[in-house]
Symmetry: C2
Subunit: 348 residues, 2 copies
């Protein structure tokens, strides 16, 4: 399997996005975000996405250079229209604005509509944490992506509706980044393509019965992914509803309703400056104490240590910085072909 450095992947990805019509600073942002996803081990959000993004640009769904405009604003809130630019560009602008508001007024709450796919939500809460802030974020699909059943239901009515939270930690930030479904659709697709069964508790068929056959998700007729929670799946469902409303209703982009409406990422960010509440020392003391306390739990059978939220990704990042980022042949050839198709040639 070919292996590359972060800088190599970032460099060629930036070239491709520039060739797709992104202004230079925006090409840097999108290329960087995809390379970072590969670095953290989230290959499903890495350069495998370039082909899809290139297609969406050609179709006019993604508008490179599309302006981010402010529709409504108060001292500590704003509603932004992303101009259907890349979600990575729009999300960064939203977080930058939220950080500025939080620095001045203690908190910034930013709602965003008309943006494309932002990739990993945790990338943006982490960005705020690296500036010393606490950030909670949610995203929905502008009402589309009906893959997840409501609790007690038998078909997909909700998107995977993720929630993320990040804050400064004692050594590295603490980063929560989860879907409110048991699993993302991509993982089911991988099992289906590999001819493997899904674990119990992931899926129901079109009659609402539990199934381990990944094909049952796609049908026809389609089944659904379950909200997370297992026996208490009403909790994951409840969080999904919360995410849908914060993202879709507060922005006006739309809550889950149709599988054929225009796909986008409606976003919600709440950014807080802890120093407007307590001293930095108090904050640091308690988060550090919490982390030490949690990590002190003797590992249960089958575990060797307790990892904080976000720690698995940081470890992958360290390893891939050292050993390189493996990219499977199919993805690499597709990426090169896509690049060549828009006039970008490179040898790595």
């Amino acid at each position: 399997m070919p292996t590359f450095t972060f800088e190599q992947i970032r460099g060629v990805a930036v070239q491709v996005f520039a060739a797709l019509g992104c202004p230079p600073d925006e090409a840097e942002i999108v290329g960087d975000a995809l390379a970072r996803a590969n670095l953290a081990g989230h290959d499903s959000h890495g350069i495998i996405r370039v082909e899809q993004y290139a297609r969406l640009v050609k179709e006019g769904s993604i508008v490179p250079g599309g302006p981010t405009t402010t529709e409504r604003e108060t001292a500590c809130t704003a509603l932004l229209d992303g101009g259907w630019n890349f979600g990575q560009v729009v999300a960064r602008r939203a977080v930058e604005l939220g950080i500025r508001k939080a620095r001045e007024f203690g908190s910034g709450t930013i709602s965003v509509k008309q943006s494309n796919h932002l990739g990993r939500l945790g990338e943006y809460t982490l960005m705020a944490a690296q500036e010393g802030m606490l950030c909670t974020a949610t995203v929905n699909n502008h009402g589309r992506g009906n893959l997840v059943a409501p609790f007690g239901g038998s078909d997909g009515r909700l998107a995977t509706n993720p929630i993320s939270f990040a804050c400064p930690g004692p050594d590295r930030p603490i980063v929560v980044d989860i879907t409110t479904s048991v699993v993302a659709e991509g993982k089911v697709r991988i099992l289906k393509n590999a001819g493997k069964q899904a674990p119990e508790g992931w899926l129901i068929d079109s009659n609402g019965n539990p199934t381990t056959n990944p094909q049952d998700l796609y049908g026809p007729p389609p089944g659904a992914i379950l909200p997370f929670g297992g026996a208490v799946g009403h909790k994951g469902f409840a969080l999904s509803v919360m995410v849908d409303i914060l993202s879709g209703a507060l922005s006006g982009a739309g809550c889950s309703h149709s599988s054929t409406c225009r796909l986008g990422n409606a976003m919600f960010f709440h950014i807080l400056d802890p120093e407007k509440f307590v001293t930095r020392d108090e904050y640091d003391h308690w988060v550090s104490t919490l982390q030490t306390h949690i990590k002190g739990s003797p590992p249960a059978p089958g575990f060797s240590e307790i990892l904080m939220p976000g720690e698995p990704e940081f470890r992958t990042e360290d390893r891939r910085r050292r050993d390189g980022i493996p990219v499977d042949d199919v993805t690499w050839q597709q990426f090169k072909a896509c690049a060549a198709g828009i006039g970008v040639q490179f040898e790595l």
Copy 2:
């Protein structure tokens, strides 16, 4: 089983709290909150708590009439010190302040320390929703209440760390109110006292192995409750960490660290006025569309309909308003004895 009206329970509870030294308006607030918990079917947070609260007042842990003071404040944030008053009193004041800030500036983020037990967190997010607001809230125990294992751990290191969200809905508010553990400790205690087994996936013993014996939670040595999520328990754990930091570090009250520190409820409220983002019509349209869409899912086997978050409690409330609130004999006799002990006599 004796059955009472909401007004009867509320009336006697208010008398008891007045006799315990609460100023009249505060006795009304605490009595009302407990009666409301009974009305909604959350009997574990209803008048069964009076005996415990009376003991805490006598011990000096709860300070009736304790002042709520503002330690830090910006246009849209505040850190409050609850003066160790009843949590019900402090939480209402925090939400009232958050609503005022949200009305003026779009959002109000309120952090609270030095408060006692607030009862049901959903009571306060609902209060904001009834004023037209969206409200997210979390609470921890000031660092105490180590009952829940971290993902991969074998002993209790976190409290049940609940999260709640409420917002206006098409007929009634939508109310999310969940612990980030599989279950609250009280439910395990009830099974233990009844000599029953716990469902699979709730508990681990002191070696970190799954168990269905409720006694294993208490030991000695004690086991732990699992974070919610089943096979993806890292998600419930991640949310618990987020709740602990928002509640305990932002307020300075303390994150989970010790089972012997002073018990309190540190609170976090984020209140938003949707009309600072979109029009009320846009907001209403999308939440109504979402609810209709979700409820349209054909029920899975074993279910007769899809209920929105909060709907089960509203139904219990309707039924108990009509048929009365049943209170078991033991609880009622304890309540009467407790009342008599502080000079409150009544016949119902």
